[in-house]
Symmetry: C2
């Protein structure tokens, strides 16, 4: 079911068994990746029409406008679909913080990574998980 | 099934019905979001242990080391888990391009977005989908 989503866009979506695509959300100013959420056609339609990020909550089984309770809205500055249609990228003006824990980004739990081939010191970009995520590389 | 993944990490994952979590991949240098892929425990384990991004292909039903056929490897510089454990963020050194279409990023299909409340001209960051994605905003 596409809701009111533009049929030309709906035709490009590759939904999972629950009718959802992934939505990757980044900060429009810093490029920081803020969160991952889920959208059905109606959520994508509302997001594109209103400019406020709107998702499908898998745990609550309903739509939610990000910020509707916290005030931490996401004003969408641009959106793009990926090559195979199973993910949307939103660039947003994040009001307040993205994570319900109070962290700025939901990706705040570093995982240890072994040094990969060709590793060398490289400057992190804003929002990088930082040295703690480098897994003890020299 | 966790493969050889550190049980402390495995315990934090919230997998979907197919045993997968989403993996958001960004360029370590520019912050650009490159692609979204999927990981089971074994793919995450291999990624963290080898430093080369390894995913689960839902279409092919097998693991794949990104770049194993194209040479476009992703050398993982850092990794982080999100607050609810259903998504991983990788910051990678992208060899060549990320997308199988030859585009640098998989998110190369702009979607039109209506002007959101409080809209104003803001400078895009690298990897932003650009003016074409702004949906004709003035």
């Amino acid at each position: 079911m596409s809701g009111d989503l533009d049929p030309a866009i709906a035709a490009q979506l590759k939904r999972d068994a629950d009718g959802l695509v992934a939505a990757v959300v980044r900060d429009h100013h810093t490029g920081e990746v803020l969160m991952l959420a889920w959208m059905d056609d109606q959520a994508l339609h509302r997001t594109l029409r209103t400019g406020r990020a709107t998702y499908w909550s898998r745990s609550r089984g309903r739509h939610w406008v990000k910020g509707e309770t916290s005030g931490h809205y996401q004003l969408v500055r641009s959106a793009a679909l990926d090559c195979d249609g199973d993910a949307v990228l939103l660039s947003v003006e994040q009001i307040g913080v993205a994570c319900h824990t109070g962290e700025r980004t939901c990706f705040h739990r570093p995982l240890p990574v072994a040094a990969s081939p060709g590793s060398g010191p490289t400057p992190p970009v804003p929002g990088d998980a930082g040295p703690a995520a480098q897994g003890g590389r020299p």
